[in-house]
Amino acid sequence: MSGLQIVNGLAGLLIVTSLLVVVARKPSQSAKFYALQSLVLVAVFVALGSATNAPQLYVWAAVAFVTKVVLVPVIMARSFGRLSDERLGSGERISPAVTVLLAAVVVLLCTLIISGVTLPAAAGIKPALAISLAHFFFGLACIVTQRNILKQVFGYCLMENGSHLTLALLAGSAPELVEIGITTDAVFAVVIMVILATQINRKLATLDADQLTTLKG
């Protein structure tokens, strides 16, 4: 397999791992899968870096490894383990089976959309590009279909990984500062979400987004 094929294949794995993140029963379990997924992302960066001969992607990979494989999952796993909501159950609005089918549909649609792009940078990596877009929307779907607010945080992380991958695929040559800015923002976002979720759990004793409906109209 050529370098770009490896990139494409690894991108496919991203969807699989994100499915695991979404389908996992416990948020702390999801955190582990998220670390796995980020590891795949790092691998994509490295593979892409070697395939397109773009050394700055190694820097990205390193940054992503520190933040996404280590930092964020550790924060999540440690804080989410302490939160619980007995009444919530699995907190899924749709069953895992439908989730998987949804993922398939999303990938299909994104493939169709991406097939129209004529950008030269996208030539060899259209599948991966489609996956990155699909990954983004899959994250969105996770936020919409999960009642557990902790799962929603994961949804955000998945979206963020998706756009990150697009950035790397299409614009691997961006200044490093850009990448660092984006990553830092994402880490802060997760930290604040975690803090807020903890406060909500402490104050309202729930993790169920459907319980957060006092404000209406």
Partner: protein, 312 residues
Amino acid sequence: MPTLTQVSLAFVQALLLLAAAPLFTGITRVLRAKMHTRRGPGVLQDYRDVIKLLRRQNLQPPAAGFAFRAMPTVMIAALLTIAMAVPVLTRAVPIPGLGDLITVIYLFAIVRFFFSLSGLDSGSSFAGIGGSRELTLGVLVEPTLVLSLLVCALLAGSTDIGAMGEAIATGHVRSAGAVLLAGAAAIFACYFELGKLPYDMAEAEQELQEGPLSEYSGPSLALLKVAMGFKQLLILAFVFAIFVPYGSSSDTSLVGLLIGLAAFIAKIAVVAVVLGVVENSVARARFRLTPRHSWFGLGIASLAFVFYISGL
């Protein structure tokens, strides 16, 4: 035309598998007993059962018809055909043309069809329910199996089981992600077919899915008992041939065949252990839950298909 070697290999392989079927079920029983820390019957118990049954009288319910009577024979025959079609000891299909993916899947479908038909034909309501359940299960599992194997076939560029195994084993397929997903889905579907916990307990005859067996007796029952184990073995062989053909011989030399046999036995052993562990760590799922799980499998298979389309 297949050569004589090929034909004889096919026959030998089929008979070998048929003969080994009670052994296989016996071993899994023993394993299970060990895990329950109890002393079960010995490894050869299933042979003893079969022999005992063969000596009994063949009874059938008054309402039973042709399908009921023909089923054991048809089942064994179909399974034997599969056994000749699936590559077990070799990489290549023993009889070229017979080992086509679609043929094999349909042969399995025929087995299922007659099995459930006999339940309906027996006139017993218990057996009837069992038969209809068997059909439901088929409806649920079959699409996943077909879709995932179709993806594999598309990726390998051939519907020949041997060629598929070859392509996948050597990595000559375009999309690793799709293969992994399709493999996962296919194996998942096959697990249903094995009739193991949490979806079924093939050896406990009072379980509803085995309902069609309840009206059989004597030699027919003996045949069916052998056929059940035979089917499990064949499913495993089928999966191995496509996804883990490692170890099987690429030619028909004796040494190669022996190595292939050893590899096959090793794979079976590993699977038996894994199955044993799985069966002992889960409880029987309600039949109602089965569709959910099978839908999940279908989802995985469709994802694999989409991956194939997007060219990952």
